[in-house]
Structure formats: structure tokens, C-alpha cells
């Protein structure tokens, strides 16, 4: 049981790390604006039609940009941003645990009511409102605000789940699994156009033209969603295996 859990954690971690590292290394070399093979209509992926794909393995989008290159660059932003959110959540939970352990009953009461209040807010609508506040700021400041807010909201929700205020396997597993929730939540914010803004790429903002792409080039609407799904699935499996693994120790 323990060996199997360790194997699952290792596999999920290795795949996520490989995607992240690959995206970071290849991202600088990926040409996301190449439309040399632009023929007036999007090129299909090579597995659909090898003769007309023009070397674009996953095809091109509605305006002739290589989908694979965009996915690689988008992976860096999407996984990186959600990781920032997860680190913020872990930091917030750490501070809450510290304050609960060291503080008196008044502090514990304040923390309890604060998490009660914050956990009632819907995540992506609040993030969109907060993002609209920092529209005037640089993109890094806005993305930082979004990541921080995502972490705080998820941290409050984790407390709402009734997690013991100590560093238990359940808490670690919850934070790992929340990474996937943050990934999907930030993708929603990007999809609505309030998070990562073009020319920066993320899997979420690649889906902004979802309806048009579904009719013109289904691959441009399916592959970013598939990347989000696979990444979220791997993180969830990793989180579950972490719990079994830590419980075995």
C-alpha cells in the first residue's frame, strides 16, 4: 500500500515537474506568433491530416498560430500562477495554525469568524472584482494580487472544511488538492479576460475564443481544456496519494 502510494505521488509529481520544467525551458524558444503556413484557414493536427498539417503537431488556431507552442508557453503561466496561489494558501494556513496555537481565545475567535466570512465568498467573481481594481497596475502586480487572493480564499475554505489546525497529513493533502482547484479557478478568471491578458498566454485565455474555435478549429478549443484537465487530475491523484503516503509513516 505504502509503495503504491509513493509510486503514485512520484509519478504525478514527476509528470507535473516535467511539464513545468519543459514549459520553462522550451517557452523561450517556442514561437507563438508563427503563421508562416497561414493559408487562410486553420491547419489541422498531424494525427488528423498528416499531409496538410505543415509540421504543426497539434495544428494551428483560427489565425494560424501553432497550438503546441502556445500550450507550452501557457503551461508556464497557468501552473506557475496556480503554484503561487497554493504557496499563498499554505502560508496563510501556517500563519493561522501559529496564531491559533500561540494566541488567546480572543484571537482564536477572530480567526474563526474571519474564516467563516471569507469562506462564504464565491472565488472567481471576487477575484474578477479584485483584478479590476488593479487594472491600472502592471501585469505582475495584478497577477500577484490574483494569486494572493486565490490563496486566501482557498485557505479560508480549507479551514471551513474542518481541518485540524495542525500540520496533519489531511492538511497537506488538502493543500495539494487545492492546487488543482486554484488552477481551474484562475483558468476561469483568464477565460473571462480578467486575469492573464494577451500577449501573455495561459491555458485559460487560450480558451477565450472557445465558441468560434469549436466551429473553425476544434483542436484549439479542446487541447487547452485537455491540458487543464490532465494537470488537475495529476495534482488530485498526487494529493490523494500524499494522504495515504503520509498516513503510512
Amino acid at each position: 500500500m505504502r509503495k503504491r502510494a509513493i509510486a503514485t505521488v512520484s509519478l504525478a509529481g514527476a509528470v507535473i515537474a516535467a511539464i513545468f520544467a519543459g514549459a520553462s525551458l522550451l517557452g523561450n524558444y517556442a514561437n507563438t506568433t508563427d503563421n508562416l503556413h497561414w493559408t487562410g484557414k486553420p491547419l489541422p493536427p498531424c494525427f488528423v491530416n498528416a499531409t496538410t498539417c505543415g509540421g504543426h503537431i497539434l495544428g494551428t488556431d483560427a489565425v494560424g498560430r501553432d497550438v503546441l507552442a502556445r500550450l507550452i508557453v501557457g503551461a508556464r503561466t497557468s501552473l506557475g500562477m496556480s503554484l503561487v496561489g497554493t504557496v499563498c494558501e499554505l502560508t496563510m494556513l501556517g500563519l493561522l495554525i501559529l496564531a491559533t496555537r500561540r494566541g488567546n481565545s480572543a484571537i482564536r475567535f477572530a480567526i474563526g469568524r474571519f474564516t467563516d466570512a471569507i469562506s462564504c465568498f464565491t472565488a472567481w467573481p471576487v477575484t474578477i472584482v479584485a483584478a479590476s481594481i488593479s487594472f491600472g497596475e502592471g501585469s505582475l502586480a495584478r497577477l500577484g494580487t490574483i494569486g494572493l487572493l486565490a490563496g486566501v480564499l482557498m485557505g479560508a475554505r480549507a479551514v471551513g472544511f474542518g481541518i485540524e489546525t495542525s500540520l496533519t497529513p489531511r492538511l497537506v493533502s488538502r493543500v495539494v488538492r487545492d492546487w488543482s482547484t486554484i488552477l481551474l479557478m484562475l483558468a476561469t478568471v483568464d477565460f473571462f479576460g480578467f486575469g492573464v491578458a494577451p500577449p501573455m498566454l495561459s491555458w485559460g485565455n487560450m480558451l477565450a475564443d472557445l465558441q468560434a474555435n469549436l466551429q473553425l478549429a476544434w483542436w484549439a478549443a479542446v487541447f487547452p481544456a485537455a491540458c487543464l484537465f490532465i494537470a488537475a487530475l495529476l495534482i488530485q491523484l498526487g494529493g490523494r496519494a500524499t494522504l495515504s503516503d503520509l498516513n503510512c509513516w
Binding site: C120, P125, I128, V129, S132
Partner: protein, 255 residues
Amino acid sequence: MRRLRAAVVTVLNAAVAAAIMLACTFVLTRAAASQSSSRVAHGLPSVIPLILQRLPVTLELLGSSMVLALIIGVGLAFIAARARGRIAKRLLSGCVLALRCIPFFWLALVSQLLAAIYVGDWIFGTSSSNRFSLTDHLAHLAVPACILALMQIPIVVQALQATASRSVQKTSAPVAAVLDALAVRLPEIIAACFITEMAFGWPGEGRLFLAAVNADQPKLATGVVLLTAVLTLLLRVALRLAMSTSLISRGIQDA
């Protein structure tokens, strides 16, 4: 006497949480309004009727999807519990996990497109004509409610499975466990409801929120966010009160 005291404490705690919620929303609204370029100065009192007008439509979609999710979720959990082989259980766990990992906005928009192709454009909105007809209204409600239920089924199934696996150690009530899980996840469910409304042209709070954000109306947008937060808080308080007064026997919360 002890139950009454517990109920009073719950209500007081909720009042303090509501005050914190209001303070957070006030800060957010002020900050957003200071950045807004809009000349239309909606005050919070002036947006309240606008927000409340859309509330019944959202509650209708939310309620019907919850009922659907409960029926399907309980059915699936029952089938998995009765199945002797491990394949059915694994299949159910796999489906539950897959549903949790699919980006909901993608699922809703793809479903909308497929529904438009195979069912027709008439399913968008709440009715086909100005004259109210119950069958027509239910026909419009069916697809969005099913899509929104897809998001809630994993919550119901996981809560029931957690209850079943712990029932050997402690006495737990499945009803309380499911209600607990739904209450904790209510903000996520409402967020998914907003997306469903947007996809299917359902004129509720979600569409109002997106219209407000796109029209640079921060007070209207934060008003919608505050309303959903208050609704969540009220529901949680009602649930805690029901549990503290033993109307619903206390379950074990596990998500």
C-alpha cells in the same frame, strides 16, 4: 437550555462573520469604485432592487440542480455500495474524479453548443414567449439544471462514501453529511451557477454580475458578490441551528 445557548452562540457568531463580510465588501467596493471610469454612480441602496429582482431565477436554477444532483448522486452511491465487485466502485470514483477536474466553464459552453445543435436555439433563456407556460419553462430549465447538477454530483457521492466508510467507527447521518458538504461547497456551486446562467442565457445573478463587470459597474458587481456570500452564510447558520437543535442528527464532515 444548553441547546438554546448553542443556538444563540451560533447566531451571534454569524452576526460577527456578517459584519466582517460587510467590511470586506465595503473595502473592495471603495477600491473598485475609485479605479472605475464609469460616470454612472450607483449607490449600494440603488442596486439592491436590481439584484433582488434576479434572485428568484438564480435560486430556481440552483434549487432544481441540487435536487437533481441529490437524486442522481444518492442513486450512484447506492449502486456502488450494493455492487459486489470493485469495478463499479472504481468506475464511480473515476467518474467523480474526472468531473471534478474538468474546467466547468468549458463543459458548460461545449454543452451549450451541443444543445444548440441537437436540441435547438429555443432552449436559451427561461421561456420561448412572454406568455408563461409551465411545460415550456421546465423544458428551458432542464438542460442548464442537468449541467449544473454535474458539478454537484461528485460532492454528494463523496460525502456519502465518506459517511459509509466511517460508519463503522462513529454513528453518522448521511443526510447531515451531504448537507454539510453542500453547504461548505456552496460558494463553488454558486460560481458554477453563474457560468451556467451565462452559457444558457438564464437571466439571473450571474449574467447581472458579468454585465456589471463588463459595463464597469463595481458597486453592482460587489453587490451580487455580497448577496451570494450572505445567502451562503444564512444557509450555513440554518444548517448549524438545525444540527444544534437535533432537527438533523450531526454527521461527519469530510470532503
